[in-house]
C-alpha cells in the first residue's frame, strides 16, 4: 500500500497505526452492506445449503474486514499475524469433533425414544 510505504520514507516521526480515514469509511460501508445482505437472507426465507453458504460467507467476510482493517492486522508483521490467527483456525477441528459427537447423540436418542425405555 502506498501510504504504508510513505510512513517509511517519512522517517520516525509517524508513530503507531495511522492510515487514511477513507479506509475506515469504506470498511464501515462494506460492513453495513454485508450485514444488510445477511439480514435479507433471513427476510426472504432462503433455506437449505444456500442459506448456510450465504450466512457463512457474509460472516467470514465481515470478520475478515474487522480483523484486517479495524484491528490493523493487515499492517502487522507475520510473526504476530500467525501467532494470533492460527490458534482460532485450529478450533475448526474441535467443531468437527463435536459435530460427530452430537450426530451420534442424536442417533442414539432417536433409537432410544423410538423403542421406548
Amino acid at each position: 500500500m502506498a501510504h504504508a510505504e510513505g510512513q517509511h520514507t517519512a522517517g520516525q516521526h509517524v508513530e503507531g497505526q495511522q492510515h487514511p480515514i477513507g479506509i475506515y469509511f469504506t470498511v464501515w460501508g462494506l460492513l453495513f452492506v454485508l450485514s444488510t445482505f445477511s439480514y435479507l437472507v433471513d427476510y426472504y426465507h432462503l433455506q437449505g445449503y444456500l442459506r448456510w453458504t450465504l450466512i457463512l460467507v457474509f460472516m467470514m467476510a465481515k470478520a475478515g474486514l474487522i480483523v484486517a482493517f479495524f484491528m490493523h492486522m493487515r499492517w502487522e508483521r507475520l510473526a504476530l499475524i500467525y501467532a494470533i490467527l492460527v490458534p482460532p483456525v485450529l478450533v475448526l477441528i474441535f467443531v468437527a469433533i463435536m459435530t460427530f459427537e452430537s450426530d451420534y447423540t442424536f442417533l442414539t436418542r432417536g433409537v432410544f425414544f423410538a423403542v421406548g425405555s
Binding site: 520516525q12 503507531g16 464501515w28 439480514y39 426465507h45 457474509f58 460472516m59 479495524f70 508483521r77
Partner: protein, 241 residues
Amino acid sequence: MAQASLTNTGESLTRPDGWPGIVADWSSDQRAFKNVPWGKAMMWIFLVSDTFIFTCFLLSYMTVRISTTVPWPNPSEIFALEIGGENVPLLLIAIMTFILISSSGTMAMAVKFGYERNRKISALLMIATALFGATFVGMQAFEWTKLIVDDGVRPWGNPFGAAQFGSSFFMITGFHGLHVSIGVIFLIAIARKAWRGDFDHATPGFFTSRKGHYEAVEIMGLYWHFVDLVWVFIFAVFYLW
C-alpha cells in the same frame, strides 16, 4: 504483503519480511513481536483466550442444537418486532448489529485521531462509541425483558420448543452483553484520560503508574472491535441459523 506499521520500540527496524521474518522474529530467545508495544501484544493474546471462551459457548450451543430431538424454536419469529401491525422478522437484532458496527467505525477513527495527537476529537469519538455500546446494551435489556416477561423463556424451558434454546441464548448473549458493558466503562475511562491530555504528557496512571501513551487508545480499540467481531459470529450462528 504490505509493509508493517512501525511503533518505535527501540528494536532495529531493518528486518526481513514474510516467512524469513517469522523465523527471524521468533528464534533465539528474544522478544517475538518486534514492532508492537507489549501492552498491545498482551491484549491480542487475551483476545485469543477470549475467542476460546466464546468458541466453547457457541460449540455447546451447536452440540445441543444438533443433538436435540425436539424442534428448535425459530429465532426469526421469536425476535420479530411488530411495526404498524406487521411482524418484521429479526428487526431488533438487525438494528443492534448496525449500531455495533457503527460503534466499531467511530472507535477505529478514535485510534487514528489519537495517534495524530488530536486528543479532543479522539475522546469525543470514544464517547460516541461508548454511547453506541450503551444503546446496544439497552436494546439487549429490552430483548431479554420481552423474552422473559412476555414469552416466558427460561434457561430450563420455553413455550416454543427445545429447552436448550433458553440456556444457550442467555449464556451466549449474556456473556457478550457483559463484554460490551465492561467495554463501555473502559471507553469512558480512556476517553477521560485522552481528553485531559494524559497521553500527550505521558501522565502516569493512578493504578499502574505506567506512563500514558496513545497506544492505550489502540489497545482499547482492539478490545472493542473484538466485541463487534464476536457479535458477527453470534448474529450468524444463533440468530440466522
